[in-house]
Assembly symmetry: C2
Homo-oligomer: 337 residues x 2
DNA sequence: ACGTTCCATTGGAACGTTCCAACCTCGTGG
DNA sequence: CCACGAGGTTGGAACGTTCCAATGGAACGT
């Protein structure tokens, strides 16, 4: 009562209800061994004062925050927002909050974001499409439960959940070859999470089809401009491909744009395939054939792995692999004869 | 030294460096009145132990968390992610973290999310495109600094930042009228934030043009399906419009889709205008004329208002209005004669 | 030589909870 | 009638920081 602006504490409630703070604490956590009339009195007092338990103080003593930190490399990429949605859904269902941070796509920024989580003592950290190196991941893994989504870390300390990108790339190649394409190019995702596996998958699949020497690979990025510059390189010199497999949907959209600007018609002249099968690909006016990733499931699985770790029910590292599949739309068609 | 797994505390560092915990505290907050050799000793000890200050304990005594809670109604709408990006940028630049939560688009879910923020004692709360009612907003405003983005609350306790949607709608109408259109329809955003203002602006602008009786308004939603059903209604019966103004880009994309399905050519037969001017509108294959909102600026402004409140440098409520402008692309053209 | 000021440093009291051992008060069985 | 256990309740000690008043020197001017 001394200061009317200050938020009421457990002691204020106790005083008003005429009980000890310990009893208020028990009521707030609805313990069973509390008599009905006391419980009612406490709840009434709490209601009257507008008391809300202080999660900060609670965390300090219980050594649990019920918050998991999530770093996401790019907020604008719908792939990531879907993964985050999956994480948030499972988190909320289990009484966890999510603290979201973006590392500005740089290793340094992301490391800083992670450090903040450590200082905040989040119960765990989930990296979505991380760009930090394995050594750093390993180091953090010793300090905090850590799960990586969309990037398979080499570290033995942490869990990860990824799509089988090698297979995803193979699905794309097989589809194109089935349509009669032989000169197929891949625009990579640069240093982005999963980019390596897609390149390897592409090369392996082309080899399996006996098309190794016709496979072209050019360096790109997981962005629209990455796709545009890839097209410039592919169609500037050398044998022009009849099909382009881009490392993600945003890059594929850049490819569509680059091709249109050159007067090349999709899919009549050139077929295009993306990766992720985001909502973008599904828009009728884009209508992009794309390798589907189970994005929301990826996020949900990541959070489930985290819950196992937090509960201490599992010590060993686990890597969950999700199956890709191909969603065929209008941007891929028969190879020109 | 008793427990090797436990995280080191300020006392461990103090002991190792041979100083008091108070001095360690000073070094950690890099206060100036510390001798160089002691500072070096403390930093060395901290480094060796891998000490990271516990932000929880710090918050408890300082009564500041340096975290702001952000509720966002729909993660998948790129408009919101841009606003959040603006918030996060300014927050980070000022040493604040953002805790993001989605209320599952329901008032109840959002209220719950807000309550969690209150228990966590976030320094403030920013609502992005909120769906909760004015009364609740008002109540929360007495407990915590509160800023609403994209929705102008009637509450006098809280700050808000919105786009001048009445003017935005007028820009759309004037553009269409300038192209010779007279039968113009509007598909609304239903109960979404800002939807009302856009309807009012549309009606007012049509009236100003002397076209009140030719204005058609049908109920929609801020989603693709909202646009599709709007088209079904508009072109199912009654005078068919030559131009459709949708309440946001996602709905406009639904409109494009619905029109294409009916064999109606854009913009030759019908012109379409969206709202938000998201990245979607800019995609070459969508190429949508749209009313531009300064999304990132909206987020940045919201966070700046929050900072003023947190610093206590302002008590009175403020409502910042941002200017819309029209981005003309390929989906709007001259009215058919 | 002696106050005075200033700087570096310190221990103890907060902050608002939970946890734990201890304490009543019954009722019950021996 | 007493020992015992169980249910309900309590005060004090954590948790890991920051804040504050106090301390001990060193430097300074007179």
């Amino acid at each position: 009562m001394t200061d009317t602006t200050r938020k009421p504490t457990i002691n204020d409630v106790a005083e008003r209800a005429g009980v000890s703070k310990s009893l208020v604490s028990l009521v707030m956590r609805n313990a069973k061994s509390v008599s009905d009339h006391r419980r009612a009195a406490v709840l009434a007092a709490a209601e009257e004062l507008g008391y809300r338990p202080n999660a900060i103080a609670r965390s300090l003593v219980s050594q649990k925050t019920h918050v998991v930190g999530v770093t996401v490399s790019d907020f604008r990429n719908p792939f990531f927002t879907d993964v985050v949605e999956g994480i948030a859904t499972v988190a909320k269902a289990n009484g966890y909050q999510t603290l979201i941070n973006t590392g500005d796509r740089t290793p340094h920024g992301e490391t800083e974001a992670i450090d903040t989580f450590i200082q905040l003592r989040t119960d765990g950290i989930i990296l979505v499409g991380t760009v930090v190196d394995d050594e750093t991941i390993d180091r953090i893994g010793t300090v905090s439960p850590l799960v990586s989504a969309s990037y398979a870390s080499g570290s033995l300390k942490i869990d990860s959940v990824v799509t089988d990108d090698v297979k995803g790339a193979r699905l794309a190649v097989e589809h194109l070859v089935g349509l009669g394409h032989r000169d197929i190019a891949h625009i990579t995702g640069g240093k982005g999470a999963g980019a390596n596996r897609r390149v390897r998958g592409f090369r392996a699949a082309m080899k399996a089809e006996g098309l190794s020497e016709r496979a072209r690979v050019v360096e790109g990025e997981f962005t629209e401009s990455g796709g545009i510059s890839g097209v410039a390189e592919l169609f500037g010199s050398g044998t022009k491909p009849t099909a382009v497999f881009a490392a993600n949907d945003q890059a594929a959209i850049g490819v569509l744009r680059g091709l249109t600007a050159r007067g090349i018609v999709v899919p009549n002249d050139v077929s295009v395939i993306g990766y992720d099968d985001t909502n973008l690909a599904a828009f009728e006016h884009i209508n992009l054939t794309s390798v589907h990733q189970q994005r929301v499931l990826m996020g949900m699985t990541a959070m489930e792995l985290m819950l196992e770790r937090v509960a201490g029910s599992r010590q060993s590292a686990r890597c969950v692999t999700l199956e890709p599949r191909l969603t065929v739309r209008g941007s891929s068609g028969r190879a020109p004869s």
